[in-house]
C-alpha cells in the first residue's frame, strides 16, 4: 500500500485508535504518523508495519530541523531511510522550521528569519535529505506567532525558491495559514491564492485554540477544524484541484468515528473538485 489517491483524505494515526484504524475499510483511507515515534524497534514498529500492509502511509517528520544552521543529523537520516524502506510510505514530509540545535532537541517548530543565508542553508539541507532518503520530500509552511525582524524573503517566494532549487514539493497547512494570518495580520485568502499550486503534494487541516490573553491563535491540533478553515480549504481546492488532504488531531482526541466524519467532509470536497471538468 504505497500510493495515495489524490482524491482522498487521510487521518493522523494515534495509538489510541490503532485497532479501529487498522480494521477500517473506508475506501482510500490513508494515515499519517510522525516517523520519530517509529524509529525504534519493538511493538510500535510492528504495529506500523501491519498498518502499512492494509493502508497507505505518510511519514510527517518533526525533527529533521532543516532550518537549523547545520547539516541534518546523519544518524537520524539513516534511521528515517530504514523506516521508509520498511513501510514504503506514499508521502514523506518535514517542516520549514528547526528544532535540534547543538545536540539538543527542543520539541517545537521554531521560527527563523527568512534571510538569503537561511535560504542557502535550507536548500542545502533539503538536497542532503533527499539524497540520503533517495526520494523527494514535501515541506510544510509553519505557523507564526512572532513578529520577526530580518526577513529578506516573503514566505511564499521563499518556499517557491526552495522548490526551484531542490525539486521538493510543498505541504500546505491551511490551518497554519489561518492561524498565522490572524497572529501576524495578513490576509489568509490572498496567501492561499499566491501559493504555488503545482508544487502542492499534500494539504493539512487541523483545529486551533485561542490564547485570549495574548490575542493569539495557537496551532494546537486539539479541536475540530474551524469553519473559517474549512472555507479556506474549499476555496483552495476549487482553485488547485484535489490533493491528498490530512485531518490532524493530537489533543482532546475524540472517538475514531468522529474523526472519520470530519474526514468525510474533506473527502466530499475533494470528490466534488475531482468531478469538475
Amino acid at each position: 500500500m504505497n500510493r495515495i489517491n489524490p482524491i482522498s483524505a487521510g487521518l493522523g494515526l494515534k495509538a489510541e485508535h490503532y485497532q479501529q484504524a487498522l480494521a477500517c475499510d473506508t475506501q482510500d483511507l490513508w494515515y499519517e504518523v510522525h516517523p520519530e515515534n517509529y524509529m525504534v524497534g519493538g511493538p510500535r514498529l510492528a504495529w506500523l508495519e501491519r498498518m502499512a500492509e492494509r493502508h497507505a502511509l505518510s511519514l510527517h517528520g518533526v525533527a529533521l530541523s532543516l532550518a537549523a544552521d547545520v547539516e541534518p543529523d546523519a544518524l537520524h537520516l539513516r534511521r528515517l531511510r530504514t523506516l521508509i524502506e520498511r513501510v514504503s510510505p506514499a508521502l514523506v514530509s518535514e517542516h520549514l522550521a528547526w528544532s535540534t540545535w547543538r545536540g539538543q532537541y527542543h520539541p517545537d517548530l521554531l521560527p527563523f528569519p527568512r534571510s538569503f543565508e537561511a535560504l542557502q542553508r535550507i536548500s542545502d539541507n533539503i538536497l542532503r535529505t533527499q539524497d540520503a532518503l533517495g526520494r523527494s520530500i514535501a515541506l510544510e509552511n509553519p505557523s507564526h506567532y512572532l513578529h520577526l525582524e530580518g526577513h529578506d524573503w516573503d514566505e511564499i517566494d521563499f518556499l517557491t525558491e526552495l522548490v526551484r532549487r531542490t525539486d521538493c514539493t510543498l505541504l500546505l497547512d491551511v490551518n497554519n495559514v489561518y492561524v498565522s494570518a490572524h497572529n501576524l495580520g495578513f490576509d489568509a485568502m490572498s496567501y492561499l491564492d499566491r501559493f504555488p499550486a503545482k508544487a502542492i503534494s499534500e494539504v493539512h487541516l487541523a483545529g486551533y485554540s485561542e490564547d485570549n490573553q495574548a490575542s493569539l491563535l495557537i496551532d494546537s491540533h486539539d479541536a475540530a477544524i474551524a469553519e473559517p478553515v474549512w472555507m479556506l480549504y474549499r476555496h483552495l481546492i476549487d482553485r488547485i484541484g484535489p490533493r491528498p488532504t490530512l485531518i490532524e488531531r493530537d489533543g482532546n482526541l475524540p472517538a475514531f468515528a468522529e474523526l472519520l466524519a470530519e474526514r468525510a467532509i474533506a473527502q466530499a470536497t475533494l470528490a466534488n473538485a475531482g468531478a469538475l471538468p
Binding site: 524497534g41 511493538p43 510492528a46 525533527a63 540545535w101 520539541p107 528569519p113 490564547d211
Partner: protein
Amino acid sequence: MNLSLGQFQDAFIEALYQRPVSALASLSGQAAFAVYRNTVMSGCVEALRANFPSIETLVGPGWLHEVASAYVQQTPPKDPRLIHYGAAFPDFLQTLQASHDLPYLADVARLDGYWCEVFSADEDPWLTLDDLTGMTATDLARGHLRPRRSVRWQWFDPHPAYSLWRVSREGLPWSPEQPWVAEGALLSGDSHGVNHQPLDIGACAFLDACAAGHSLQVASQLAQQCQPDLDFSDLLGRLLQTKVFRPLTFA
C-alpha cells in the same frame, strides 16, 4: 537584528530557557514568545509523564510537573525519539530524596525507564528450549548465554521496588500483606509488548554474569553462590520461556 542564522539560533535557545540574552530582547519581549516556551516545556514534561507513569501515581501530578520542569531546564532531550527521554531522571529523583522522602522512588523510576528501553529495543533472535535438544551437559556448560537487547533486570535492596512499580503502573491498591523486602525484576520485550516478572537475587546474579560474558557454568556457579537454594533448572526454563537469551554461542 543583525545576526547570522547560527547566532540567531544560539540566542533563541537562550531566550527559550529564560537565560539572560540581550540579542533577541525585541523578540523574547513579545507575549507570543511564551508560545514557544510553553510548547517546548510542555512537550518535554509530557514526555517524562508518559515515560514515568508510576512516578506520577506515587507523587501526584503537581509534584511531578514541578520536578519534571526542573529536570527539563537542566537536561533537555538530546534525541527526538522522546521515548528515550529521561535516562537520568531516576538519578535526578534520587538527589531530591529529602523533598519527597520516598527512598524507593528512584528505583521505581528505573523500572519505568527499563520499560521504555525494552518497549523500544531492536529485536534480536532468541534461544528456545528446542535449540538445546541433543546438547551434552558439557557442551552446555561451556556455552555463553547473552541476554537480548530487549531485556532488563535488577535486584533492588532493601525495598520491594518491583511490587511498588507494578501496582503504581497498573493502578492497583497496595496490599497491607505485601512483605516489605528486597525484590528483583525482569522485563522482556518483543514485537507483541513487554512482559515483566519478579526475579530472585540468584537469578539477577546469573543474568549479570551472563551479560558480563561468563560461560553458563561459571554464571550458574555465581548464581548458586549468591543464592544457595536457587532452583537453577526451573530458572533456566523460565528465562528461556521469556525469550531472555540470544542463540547460544561458544566464543
